[in-house]
Symmetry: C2
Subunit: 332 residues, 2 copies
């Protein structure tokens, strides 16, 4: 591989924060020459990445996510960890600037020498934002950050993406969990390795009840024989109560689960997703878009079966001849 | 469209059970000429399909699924409904014959004039089995069956497929739900529109407790503002207690949810899945399998990033030149 950016890579590997910020900016650029440089840089530092704890966090707005992340980050940074905070917020594409970019959200962590905070990449699809965040994880690790906290907004599909790039996933909720969790999209709770009832100080009794409810629900959701049984905890980011226990939960998880195997599986899935996406783009470039639209309309109107629709698209004459054999088995 | 099988279609539309069985067998054939005939038949009867209630059912082995389906089926058939029971069991590919094909599982429903029972198609991938089951639903509807019960084994990925082809999904469990549900794969509970604690007669107190637990868990799992709030019910398929209430639940669901819109969305997803699968097959046919294996190994070993791996595969020279622009954004 051609090393186009040895000075940047060298500076990055010394832990220089400005170099890290510049490297992340490079990966976020859509200029083709920048993309080539970014990929070369990533390949160069890849051997130095991977030595961190990667934690995904989500929760509905109002749950106190910024305060929680700041409290956890300060606890870890004060203990000598180097903590990077990244974000996945595809909505930042629309507003032209993410609320997660506001560094005043975490004023104390922002100025801590052991911490690095980066807002969500803006622009592009969720897939694009997610890919840039994965790359930012690699760069932060290469720069020596050993705890990576990746936050997400808790209202969309970004949670699945963040769970796919982190070692474990933390769901923050409120003491009135029954109502609050209903703001969480279906499927998110099943991603959670830890559920934390935050703002427990505001209503200790309700927080204890929420913890009990969550414990019962998590028990129902966890398959028999799973290496890790998700835990429900309580915290108050404001007072700091319960924050050390959350980190104990993270460490217990990492004891129980083969994280290296999980990461290899995540990389394999990511590679396959990229391949499938490339296949799909190539396919779309080769088909008659007008014809595809017309056939889809027929399928949705019920005058063609989906199998016939695909078959007709792939056989230009539109006749009844034998289609490609693989259509016989459909997607798995 | 060329109608290659008008006699079969005509017989099918009169509700002839033998014609229905033959038509389903035709869709299950892998002979290319049979496939063409089957697709023509499906297209011909498609306008007569769609007028049924499609219910998916799952539960771990031992939950009493066959007895439950027989009890529900008899209730409906005795009330004048025409009831078809289909199954999705990809494991039948391995054993060469599904346990779900054993008609002695439902001896009374099997001989009822208003019922039609068909075992899982055997052979092929899960996608293939699922596609044939979808086609069997169409054929059963064209033959006048107005209730379609699609069962699945409750231990694999077939639940998602069945949920994607039915109007609502029923999860059967046992009075000791806390333990039993742990046999259910993660994610299945989130598919459930109705949870039924079966065999409630064996331990009424535990069944009531299980119902309470499930109600709480379903409440946590259901997003705010959802048109339907999943219900937890109790039944005893053996005594018949609670079975009418399950059907009332099905009808309440169909009142609350826009089923026609849900079906259109399911068809669109199925069509897109078939298209993506076709794209993937075409892509695989065009790449160097040996090179793909080698690049995947490098990605998994951490010497290449996934993006670089895909890029290298798509640019035969393996150099640093600009890759296809769509790789800039990755999968969504």
């Amino acid at each position: 591989m051609l090393s186009v950016s040895p000075p940047l890579a060298a500076a990055l590997l010394t832990g220089n924060r400005r170099a890290l910020a510049r490297a992340i900016t490079l990966t976020e650029s859509t200029r083709p020459d920048h993309e080539v440089q970014a990929q070369a840089l990533l390949a160069e530092v890849l051997p130095h990445a991977g030595r961190s704890v990667r934690v995904g966090l989500t929760g509905v707005p109002g749950v106190g996510k910024s305060t929680f992340i700041e409290a956890l980050g300060l606890l870890l940074a004060d203990a000598g960890h180097r903590v990077a905070v990244l974000a996945v917020d595809p909505s930042s594409a629309r507003t032209g600037g993410s609320i997660m970019g506001d560094k005043t959200r975490m004023p104390r962590l922002t100025v801590h020498a052991g911490a690095f905070i980066r807002p969500s990449p803006s622009g592009g699809t969720l897939g694009g934002v997610a890919r840039r965040t994965r790359e930012a994880i690699t760069l932060c690790e290469a720069a020596g950050y050993d705890v990576i906290l990746v936050e997400t907004v808790g209202v969309g599909q970004s949670e699945t993406q963040v769970a796919a790039m982190t070692d474990l996933f933390v769901l923050l909720t409120l003491p009135n969990a029954g109502d609050e969790l209903q703001g969480i999209k279906r499927g998110i709770m099943e991603l959670a390795d830890l559920c934390v009832v935050n703002k427990a100080d505001t209503d200790p009794r309700a927080a204890a009840r929420a913890q009990t409810e969550l414990t019962a629900a998590l028990r129902l959701l966890t398959p028999h024989g799973a290496p890790w049984r998700p835990r429900a905890l309580r915290s108050s980011a404001l007072t700091g109560a319960g924050i050390p226990q959350v980190w104990e939960g993270v460490e217990a998880y990492r004891q129980a689960v083969d994280v290296a195997a999980k990461r290899r599986a995540q990389t394999a899935v990511w590679f396959d997703d990229l391949l499938r996406e490339a296949a799909w783009q190539a396919f779309q470039a080769g088909v008659d878009a007008e014809r595809l639209r017309a056939l889809r309309a027929e399928v949705l109107a019920g005058t063609l079966t989906p199998v016939q629709g695909v078959r007709a698209l792939l056989s230009p004459s539109g006749g009844q001849q034998e289609g490609p054999p693989y259509l016989g088995d459909g997607p798995t």
